[in-house]
Every structure is written in structure tokens, then in C-alpha cells.
């Protein structure tokens, strides 16, 4: 290194046209691509509308009636609520296999506290909600403080909670009639009201409210931004000033709380308190999240996408049944749908990139 000069000084006269960006808003196609990129919920929304359209055309008023369309909402309400909780967890690059078990044990706690111990029903509901939150927080603690992989923590918790549920409830169902007589508050989320031919339940409203509130929180509060940052790169988040541990624990706790609400909605929907319900909620909620475009690697996606994802599954299930597909074929086609939805998503993202 003998040729030495002040070469670095040269840059002061350098052209500065490097950091300029192309304007991405070029015409309709450009704007559409840009929208697809910046609004991750758009792809599932398009798939949802398209599938409603296709089934509507194929089935006519049988499907395209306020009754059938609101029926879908009622059928997806539990999965929708649980999937909202699942989304939160998956956004932090975790996964929660215990969501269904938490929902069920919370509903059992609400029922048994009312009927076995004779607590006022409002107190019992509060206890159920707290219980779900506590299990969620325990999950979060194991993940955040003990640094165990979320898959394992919630796999173990799933088994523990489900077994505890059966042991505690003694497998006894509390009948709908008894609940309606003695503790109607338990069935609150099942209460209906009609607007035209459309039938809504409080549970459906609850699902929509949870989705909207979470969407607001994730987008417009510091906590929401921290959830994304933790999922994106936990170490970077920690170094740039996020309390990763508390964020994770609170995410799992909130997920537990939302699952407990799902447990409450479950009572409203089936009328009774049954310890055997909700067994497939974990797989169904993950399916909804994934079809809704949230990355399993965390940090990317929106909760509205999950909502649309849950609706897509609901539309397909009812639509296929109405078209006369039998139950087994419906299962098969849902499997195809899952893969296809993700393939379409990948493809659109590639084209739009």
C-alpha cells in the first residue's frame, strides 16, 4: 500500500442520485401490485370474495341468501375468535397448540363454578376468563423466560389442560335447559338478533369486535409494533429497546384470554357446557391463520387476513355441502383448498414483487 492519496475526499463532489426511489405508483396495475404488497389482507379478501361469487353463481339464492351468509358467520365464530388469538402468537413466530384446550377448560370452569360451587354466574365467567389468561401466561412464561420452543410448550400444555379438563369436569355435560333457567348469562354470546333475513348472534359481533380491536392495537399502539418486531427478529428487537420477555408473556396471556372468550362463545353456540368440544380448534385456527396469509415465521401478516381466512374455510365448507358434496369429499377438498390458497398467495406475491 504505497500509493496513498486523499481519495476519500473525492466523494464530496460525487453525484447523489443513488438513494432515489422509483415512484411505485405507475398506472392501475402498478398501484394494484403496490396495494397487494402493502396490504397483506388483500389477497385472502380477494379469494374470499371470489369464492362467495363462485358459490353464489353455482348455487343461486340457496347460498346467496342473508340466511346462508350469516350462517357462515355463526359457524366460524368460535374458530374466528380462536384464530385471532392464534394470529397474535404466530406473529411473534410462535405457535399455540393449546388454544382449543384453553377454550374448553375455560367454558368448563365457567359452568362448574356456577353449578358445582354455586358462585354468581358473573363471577364464574370472570373466573373462567382469568383461568384462560393464566394458562396463556404460563405458556408465555415457559416460552419467554425458560426459552423453550413454543411448539413443545403448547404441545405439552395441550395434553395437560385437556386431561385436567376431563378430570375436573368428570366428563359431565351441563344441559342447555338448566343453563337457560339458572344462568342465562353463560349463553349470552349465543343470543340472536335479526336484521332483515340476516341472523346475528352476540358471539358473531364479539368475533368481529375482537378482530377489529386487535387490528387497531397491532397497528396503532406501541405494544402492537413490538409484537411485530419480536416476531421479525427477537434479538434485534431486544437490542433496539423492546422488552421481549414481557411482550411474549403478554401475547400468550392475551391469547389465553381470547381463547377463554371463545370458550364462553362456545357455551352460547352449543347451549350446554361440554368438556368434549373444541378438539379440532388448534388445527382449524392454524389453518385460518395460514390461509389468511400470516407467515409462520412471524412478523408478517395482518389479523384481518386471518378473519378472511376463517371465512374462506367456512364458505367452502357450507358451499360444498350445499352443492351436495358428501362429508368425506368436503374434507378432501378443504385439504386441497389449504394448499391451493397458500400456492396462490405465493404466486401473487411473486408476481407483485
Amino acid at each position: 500500500m504505497s500509493t496513498s492519496d486523499d481519495y476519500e475526499k473525492t466523494v464530496s463532489t460525487a453525484a447523489s442520485d443513488v438513494a432515489a426511489f422509483d415512484d411505485p405508483h405507475k398506472g392501475f396495475v402498478g398501484r394494484f401490485h403496490h396495494a397487494l404488497h402493502t396490504t397483506p389482507a388483500l389477497v385472502p379478501l380477494i379469494v374470499l370474495l371470489a369464492s362467495i361469487l363462485v358459490f353464489g353463481l353455482a348455487l343461486g339464492s340457496k347460498f346467496f341468501s342473508p340466511f346462508a351468509l350469516t350462517l357462515i358467520l355463526q359457524q366460524v365464530q368460535i374458530v374466528g375468535i380462536v384464530a385471532a388469538a392464534q394470529s397474535l402468537v404466530i406473529l411473534t413466530a410462535g405457535i399455540d397448540l393449546s388454544v382449543g384446550a384453553i377454550a374448553v377448560i375455560s367454558s368448563v370452569v365457567m359452568g362448574q363454578f356456577t353449578f358445582r360451587y354455586g358462585l354468581p354466574v358473573e363471577v364464574a365467567v370472570a373466573c373462567g376468563l382469568m383461568f384462560g389468561t393464566a394458562i396463556g401466561a404460563l405458556n408465555g412464561w415457559l416460552v419467554a423466560a425458560m426459552k423453550l420452543p413454543p411448539f413443545i410448550v403448547t404441545l405439552g400444555m395441550w395434553q395437560i389442560v385437556l386431561a385436567a379438563n376431563f378430570l375436573y369436569s368428570r366428563n359431565e355435560t351441563i344441559r342447555a335447559q338448566e343453563i337457560a333457567e339458572q344462568a342465562p348469562v353463560l349463553q349470552l354470546l349465543g343470543a340472536k338478533f335479526q336484521i332483515g333475513g340476516a341472523v346475528f348472534t352476540v358471539g358473531v359481533i364479539m368475533m368481529i369486535a375482537i378482530v377489529l380491536i386487535l387490528a387497531f392495537i397491532l397497528k396503532h399502539t406501541a405494544w402492537g409494533r413490538h409484537v411485530y418486531a419480536v416476531g421479525d427478529d427477537a434479538e434485534a428487537a431486544e437490542l433496539s429497546g423492546v422488552n421481549v420477555r414481557m411482550t411474549l408473556i403478554s401475547v400468550y396471556a392475551v391469547a389465553g384470554f381470547i381463547c377463554a372468550i371463545a370458550g364462553w362463545a362456545l357455551i352460547g353456540r352449543i347451549g350446554s357446557v361440554s368438556p368434549t368440544s373444541g378438539q379440532l380448534l388448534n388445527i382449524e385456527s392454524i389453518t385460518a391463520v395460514v390461509i389468511g396469509g400470516i407467515s409462520l415465521f412471524g412478523g408478517r401478516g395482518s389479523i384481518l387476513g386471518t378473519f378472511f381466512g376463517a371465512l374462506i374455510v367456512g364458505v367452502f365448507t357450507l358451499g360444498l355441502r350445499l352443492m351436495g358434496a358428501d362429508a368425506q369429499w368436503t374434507y378432501l377438498l378443504i385439504g386441497v383448498l389449504i394448499i391451493a390458497a397458500v400456492a396462490v398467495d405465493q404466486w401473487i406475491r411473486k408476481v407483485a414483487a
Binding site: K62, Q75, R175, G190, V199, L266, T276, S277, T317, A327
Partner: protein, 318 residues
């Protein structure tokens, strides 16, 4: 304590009240007779491997006999044979094995008869309207386990429908059948399946359900569209909540079975086998010991024997 007699109870699951009651019956009887009872269960309905493992455990444990409600009636046979070869008395409860003589004895409800009873009752209650009934069938699972098929096809036979192949549901061509859907035997599945069928045909007026939790779920679906009073729901089981639901008008009729009886008879048989090697006898004219089935309803129909809900409550099991 290798000297006392021990026995095993293996059920499909331990989350279904039916099996829970069966276990309670067996436990009570075992205590009475001084038998040590170990209970095992599959994790979910259809969990066959766990049952095989349980049989093996019983052999390893030196039990004298096994009471078994098989998830997979044919696949379990080699394991059962292994147990019998090891000198254990194997009694099938509730669900006959395939072939039925693979077990030393079967204490069971006649599930086909149970279905037939509610089918007959439904047809008789409707009278002439039965000819243009709209029927929804709420079955157990897409894998069509035999209990579900027997009850389903029994119902159709009783109602007067050509069942075609009696070993599977879904191949019938009768126009009165709106469709089949699966419930997993719980309230949630019952409600969703009912909604699906209602969306297909809102005029359904007869609903067959695999069991009473599914019936309760179906009722919720009907209630939500205000049709709970003009649809006939029939079911099978006869659990106490189910009978109570008949009293409350949720379900029209149910075929009641007697799991406690099955279990206690089974324990007695094992005690006898351990004492002097006697094996239980079958009911006359049948290949198994029929623990009986009774139609429970508060609206008796002509030509179908039934008991009312008060009697049903006395006999109910859960």
C-alpha cells in the same frame, strides 16, 4: 398383592359419559367383589393402538379378565386372542367383536334394534305424514364406525326405508332423506351438522341423531331458526341428561341402553371365571348377552313398546 383377583376395563375413550358410567359401574361392582380394577381408554374415538397396548399391559399385569369396548372391532382380534391364550377371560362390552366369538362373551346393546325402535316410533308418530317426511341424518364420523352404521341403518329400517348395503350409510336412494352429516357425537358437531342440513333443506322435520349430545346440538340449531317445536328429534343412548331432554321436549324419543349393567355383569363374569373357570352364557337366540334396550318417550306411539321418562330416569346412567 398378587393373590387378589385383578381385572381390566378398556373403553374407547374416557371422555364420553357413556364410558365414564360404564367405568363407574365396573368400579362399584369390583369393590363389592374385592377385585382390583384397572381402567384404560383410547385417547380419541378410533384410537386403536392404545387399546392394543392396554391389552398387552393387562397381560403383563397378570389380570384375570378384560372388559373391552373395542374401537376397531376386527383389528383388535389378534390382541384379544393373545390375551385369551394367556388365560384371560375377555368380554366385549357394548360393541361386539368381529367375528363375535373372538371374545369369550359379549354383553351388549343391540344397536341395530336400538335404531329400529326409534325409526318405528318416528314413523308411527308421523302417521301418514311419514310418506313425505324430510329426514336429516346426523351420524358419528366419516370413517363410519360400526355403532354408527348399525344405529343409522336400524333407524331407516324401522322407518321403512330401503337401506341398500346395511354395512354403510350414505348409499340410500330414498327421496325423503335430505342428507347425512357427521357430528363427532358432541353438541358442537350436532349443531353445525344440523345447520348444514337446514341450509340444504329448511323443511326437514325428522332428525336422527347418533347420540343425545348431538341431538342437543341439533336442537340448538333448530331453536335458532325457531323450528324447535315442529321437528321430531330421535336419538340413542338413554343417558340421564338425554332422558331429561325428552322430559323437556328437546328430544322426541331415545333408545336407552344400560352400560352399568353391562359393566357389572362383566365384573361378575370375571369373578366367576377367576373362582371356578365358568364362562358366561349368551342370551337365547342371540350370539351375545343382550343387556336390553328400551324406547324412552313421553308420547308413546301405537305398536311400539316404550317406557315413560320417569321410568327412564330411574334406569338412566349418566
Amino acid at each position: 398383592d398378587g393373590h387378589s383377583v385383578s381385572a381390566c376395563l378398556i373403553t374407547k375413550t374416557d371422555t364420553n359419559p357413556f364410558f365414564v358410567k360404564m367405568r363407574e359401574g365396573a368400579t362399584a361392582k369390583a369393590e363389592e367383589l374385592g377385585i382390583t380394577l384397572n381402567s384404560y381408554a383410547g385417547k380419541v374415538d378410533g384410537d386403536h393402538e392404545t387399546q392394543v397396548a392396554a391389552i398387552e399391559t393387562c397381560i403383563a399385569n397378570g389380570a384375570k379378565g378384560i372388559l373391552l369396548t373395542a374401537s376397531d372391532t376386527s383389528s383388535i382380534v389378534p390382541a384379544v386372542q393373545q390375551a385369551r391364550d394367556a388365560g384371560l377371560l375377555v368380554i366385549a362390552l357394548d360393541t361386539p367383536l368381529e367375528p363375535i366369538d373372538s371374545a369369550d362373551m359379549t354383553f351388549a346393546t343391540d344397536n341395530f334394534l336400538a335404531g329400529e325402535l326409534i325409526g318405528k316410533w318416528a314413523a308411527a308418530s308421523l302417521g301418514d305424514a311419514a310418506a313425505d317426511a324430510r329426514i336429516g341424518m346426523l351420524d358419528l364420523a366419516v370413517s363410519q364406525p360400526s355403532v354408527g352404521v348399525l344405529r343409522d341403518q336400524g333407524f331407516m329400517t324401522g322407518f321403512g326405508i330401503d337401506v341398500k348395503d346395511p354395512s354403510r350409510w350414505g348409499d340410500e336412494e330414498d327421496d325423503r332423506i335430505v342428507g347425512h352429516d357427521v357430528t363427532a357425537g358432541n353438541e358442537e358437531g350436532g349443531r353445525k351438522a344440523m345447520e348444514n342440513l337446514l341450509a340444504q333443506d329448511p323443511t326437514i322435520n325428522v332428525v336422527y341423531t347418533i347420540n343425545e349430545p348431538a341431538a342437543a346440538g341439533a336442537y340448538q340449531a333448530l331453536k335458532s331458526i325457531g323450528r324447535e317445536n315442529d321437528v321430531l328429534i330421535v336419538s340413542v343412548d338413554g343417558g340421564c341428561p338425554g332422558v331429561q331432554n325428552i322430559k323437556d321436549g328437546v328430544i322426541g324419543a331415545t333408545s336407552q341402553q344400560y352400560p352399568l349393567l353391562m359393566a357389572s355383569k362383566g365384573i361378575e363374569a370375571i369373578a366367576a371365571w377367576a373362582k371356578d373357570g365358568t364362562k358366561p352364557e349368551a342370551t337365547e337366540g342371540k350370539a351375545f348377552f343382550d343387556t336390553g334396550v328400551a324406547l324412552v318417550t313421553d308420547q308413546p306411539a301405537d305398536g311400539v313398546d316404550s317406557i315413560d321418562t320417569d321410568e327412564g330416569m330411574n334406569l338412566c346412567w349418566g
